[in-house]
Symmetry: C2
Subunit: 192 residues, 2 copies
């Protein structure tokens, strides 16, 4: 079985034939380290699946401050999803943290393929549902956990990426400054 199909079917069933038609829509994109796939102002027309490497999704505010929304590794979806859904221009950067290969899908092409496919509609729904659940999990962490606890959760959640993500981006992801994260780490190290 195609490894991507294996991954996708963790979200819901998908017949091999349907998957094959879906796969044909995908276009390879190669990103050098630090290259951006999407930038604010771009029209968002595609979503992608990370084949290898690592990307981050982030905002930049008027004063140039970055806020990291997400990190996405192999097998995960990557897109300016909210903007894609709303068919608005991108507000978010998507940048490769490592040399990265994406498989990109044009949304209109996907919609055309899914227009008469219950199977693909259901799958698309499952995928958004997963995105929703993970955002709600994040909301939970902001509401109920301290910065220190959020950092520990992050370390458990993404151990395989930790080595490739600069610490100040982790800080931004959990909603604090790099200096604050450095202090938290010092505190944790002392407490062993």
């Amino acid at each position: 079985m195609h490894p991507l199909l294996a991954r996708i079917t963790t979200m819901g069933p998908l017949a091999e034939a349907t998957f094959a038609r879906f796969l044909k829509l995908g276009q390879e994109r190669t990103l050098a380290r630090h290259a951006c796939w999407s930038q604010p102002g771009d029209a968002v027309t595609e979503f992608a699946i990370v084949q290898s490497g690592l990307v981050r999704h982030y905002y930049v505010d008027a004063k140039g401050r970055e806020s990291v929304k997400a990190f996405r590794g192999p097998g995960e979806f990557s897109a300016a999803y909210a903007e894609l859904i709303q068919r608005r221009p991108s507000r978010t950067f998507i940048q490769a943290l490592l040399p990265t290969r994406l498989l990109a899908f044009n949304l209109d092409a996907f919609e055309a393929l899914a227009a008469d496919s219950l199977e693909l509609q259901r799958l698309a729904r499952r995928i958004v549902e997963q995105h929703f659940v993970s955002k709600e999990q994040r909301e939970y962490e902001f509401l109920q956990l301290s910065a220190e606890a959020r950092y520990q959760r992050f370390c458990e959640e993404r151990p395989e990426h930790l080595a490739h993500i600069p610490q100040h981006q982790v800080a931004s992801y959990i909603g604090i400054t790099p200096v604050a994260l450095s202090r938290i780490r010092a505190r944790l190290a002392k407490r062993r």
Copy 2:
């Protein structure tokens, strides 16, 4: 046209006939002020549309501290959505802040109806998409806005509910304590 259909079609097209079949699944639920519709531990089997009144969704942590996730008024969806999707027991309270009428739908019944309906699948997908977008908006506010700015945004977003929501619940929603919100309000009032 049925007012509920008008509301639903703001999310996507839905034929009157399909809507009628959907509507037949709905069951009226009446909640007294302060009554809870869902509580942690409950099996989650339904989602609902608020017909009149106002509800809040919230967590309670081990130390008894509440964190408000959402307020939902007429025409909006209300459910322990993440748990429903994952078919896990509820982690959230849903409580009426006013005498409230809900139209509740059993998920399994809905899935059965939607099983062979592209239209309903597409609609279900649109609904989750909207939920996703609003969670991402909330993430954006936690990452990039100060507590004061989050409060001002909330006041603009839900002016019609402000009178019915105790201030400490607003504080919880924006992620601060009641005391802190009181200070923010005093600051804003002084600045005119």
